[in-house]
């Protein structure tokens, strides 16, 4: 299909800020999310840099007191989780790309879609009100009884997270309905791109897990305001029950973060190997499999909290199970590369980086699933390193891959490839310098969430802090590449990468209605020669 004129597209379809704030177009809503998520990433990143700067040396540093440190570390976690990694890929890229991938004109419920963005923004603002009241120092997990009695802005952050939960739920409802009801002619379930399978599995988690967090947070708010005592030992409440309820959501939540990321990796690896993905059905089913099994494993966060040993053993076993579908995906991606015609542009660089970093993250997760190992590593830097490898090395690398992959489609312009590749090198190297030493620190026994530490841990902490500076530089470079691309990038063709999924069949940027005529699909999504 010849590249349609870029005179009329979703960006210039209507003009003015108000048209953006009241838009019902899924593509515009995706861009609204992009701006929001990137802003919160910057703020959360600054908190991270402050934390790392504080930990550069033994003794008080830039943050001065333990109280300031606890606030910075809590807000870094809460911001990143609720405002960046959970909405990041589904609400930003999922919103933009999902209807295009299935040949639809929009998502099923465009007004709910806009509402979900407002929920995120309002929830985020409510959370930030806590800063007026001395912030939050409980860690993003809000464990009771400390979170009940700590005298600061905790209620605001918890309320904000509650509101942001609705954003997640609405997105999930929308994506499930969209996938079932709005696929174009010929688009059977097994002809859908794997990114859609990833988003669908994520949506199932968003719908089924988030409500339990909602009631948990509500009860915590009631505890703080009225003292209902359900999780407070003073009244016979059980703090471990809080943890059960909290992690019943929060473990599936990490799969809400990684499943869409894995979807992006499937897309990028296929396109940049110019080869059909290996084991389409295996990857599709393993997405659903991961989603389901993710509900069974939450107790591995409670191994040393006071949970019974019987329960711990059951959860340990179930946690190892969830590694299986994840491994299946990884093997399939590597098999796709084999004998492919590999193009090393930036999206592929980030995808390859994902393979390496996510594997380390995943494998260390299985290590932690072993109870005997976890008793030693729980609440140490080993755990911190593990989850940063999967969340940053996994989700964030995939997010970057997706941004550069779909940048030409979203904005009709090309970005500077050299600049993007430099950002990759800085982020990849910086990441390993920051977090690999943390595995060692954890094994040496350094506790997490601590404002200060013993002398023996200082050298590796210094290395880690230097690494954080390198990562920051990498993201600054990436931001410059994006902004320059938006302002003065070369005009992008409809299909710069030779991709085979439906979004490449329409103009860059797409017209308001996505496709000139409704597409009709007669083959699978990755039919390379």
């Amino acid at each position: 299909m010849s590249s349609a004129s870029t005179e009329h597209n979703y960006i210039n379809h209507e003009k003015g800020l108000w048209s953006w704030l009241t838009t019902l177009d899924h593509k515009r809503i995706g861009i609204l999310y992009m701006i929001t998520v990137m802003t919160f990433f910057a703020v959360g990143g600054i908190f991270a840099l402050l934390v790392r700067a504080e930990l550069f040396s033994v003794g008080p540093g830039i943050l001065g007191t333990a109280s300031n440190f606890n606030q910075a570390m809590t807000l870094h976690g809460a911001l990143m989780i609720f405002m960046v990694v959970i909405p990041g890929i589904p609400a930003f890229m999922g919103n933009f790309i999902l209807p295009l991938h299935i040949g639809a004109k929009d998502v099923a419920f465009p007004r709910l879609n806009l509402l979900s963005w407002y929920c995120l923004v309002v929830g985020a603002c409510v959370s930030l009100v806590s800063l007026i009241y001395n912030g939050v120092d409980t860690g993003w997990t809000f464990y009771t009884p400390y979170s009940i009695h700590t005298d600061n802005g905790t209620t605001w952050v918890v309320l904000g997270a509650f509101i942001m939960g609705f954003s997640s739920i609405l997105t999930g409802v929308n994506f499930i309905a969209t996938t079932h009801k709005l696929r174009c002619k010929g688009m059977s379930f097994f002809r859908m791109p794997l990114f859609v399978w990833g988003l669908y599995s994520t949506a199932v988690l968003q719908v089924l897990a988030t409500p339990v967090l909602a009631i948990t947070l509500l009860l915590l708010i009631m505890e703080r305001i009225v003292g209902v005592g359900i999780f407070d030992p003073k009244l016979g409440g059980d703090p471990i029950l809080f943890q059960h309820f909290f992690w019943f959501y929060s473990h599936p939540a990490v799969y809400i973060m990684i499943l869409p990321a894995m979807g992006i990796i499937s897309e990028v690896i296929t396109t940049f190997s110019r080869k059909t993905i290996f084991g389409y059905k295996a990857i599709a089913f393993s997405s659903i499999g991961i989603a389901v099994v993710s509900f069974f494993v939450w107790g591995h966060h409670l191994f040393v909290s006071g949970q019974s040993e019987v329960a711990a053993v059951i959860f340990s076993f179930l946690t190892m199970l969830v590694g299986v579908p994840t491994a299946i995906k990884t093997f399939n991606w590597v098999a796709t590369l084999y004998k492919g015609s590999i193009q090393f542009q930036s999206p592929m660089l980030f995808a390859l980086g994902f393979l390496f970093l996510f594997t380390i993250g995943g494998v260390t997760g299985i290590m932690l699933a072993t109870i005997a190992v976890d008793v030693h590593f729980h609440d140490t830097y080993f755990v911190v390193a593990h989850f940063h490898y999967v969340m940053v090395g996994g989700v964030l690398m995939a997010l970057m891959a997706g941004i550069f992959y779909w940048f030409p489609k979203m904005f009709g312009k090309m970005y500077n490839e050299t600049g993007a590749a430099i950002s990759f090198v800085l982020i990849f190297c910086g990441f390993n310098v920051t977090f690999f030493p943390q595995f060692i620190l954890g094994a040496m026994g350094m506790p997490r969430r601590y404002f200060d530490y013993l002398e023996v841990y200082e050298p590796l902490n210094r290395v880690s802090t230097i690494g954080s500076g390198i990562i920051a530089a990498g993201f600054v470079v990436a931001l410059i590449v994006i902004i320059k691309g938006l302002r003065s990038g070369e005009k992008a063709p409809a299909n710069p990468w030779g991709g085979k999924t439906l979004e490449w069949e329409t103009a860059s940027p797409p017209i308001h209605e996505n496709f000139v005529t409704e597409p009709e699909v007669t083959a699978g999504p990755y039919e390379y020669r």
Partner: protein, 102 residues
């Protein structure tokens, strides 16, 4: 796929009969609660409640004629709820008091 079954009109009599059934089951619940069956009290009461809920879901909410997807919504919600209860309960029930041997 035939569209008519979704807009199918259920006879008013059916709805009325279900209402009567629900009212009778409510009376049954109250009557059963007057007797003490020991541990089975809870099970009996919840069992009757589930039957009432089933009538509301199946007829009033038209689940018996509806798309399987709607069943899945209800079924998966209930399944994961049972999972939450089940594993948390296993924890609570199998907790052993550890006596400090020092």
């Amino acid at each position: 796929m035939s569209e008519s079954h979704e807009h199918q009109v259920i006879p008013a009599k059916t709805y009325f009969n279900v209402l009567l059934t629900l009212l009778v089951l409510t009376i049954l619940t109250v009557v059963a609660a007057q007797f003490d069956f020991g541990a089975a009290n809870t099970i009996i009461a919840l069992f009757i409640a589930t039957i009432k809920a089933a009538f509301v879901f199946a007829v009033f909410m038209n689940l018996r004629n509806d798309s399987k997807l709607h069943w899945m919504c209800l079924g998966s919600a209930v399944f994961f709820l049972l999972l939450l209860y089940g594993l948390a309960a296993i924890d609570i029930i199998t907790r052993v008091e550890h006596v400090n041997t020092l």
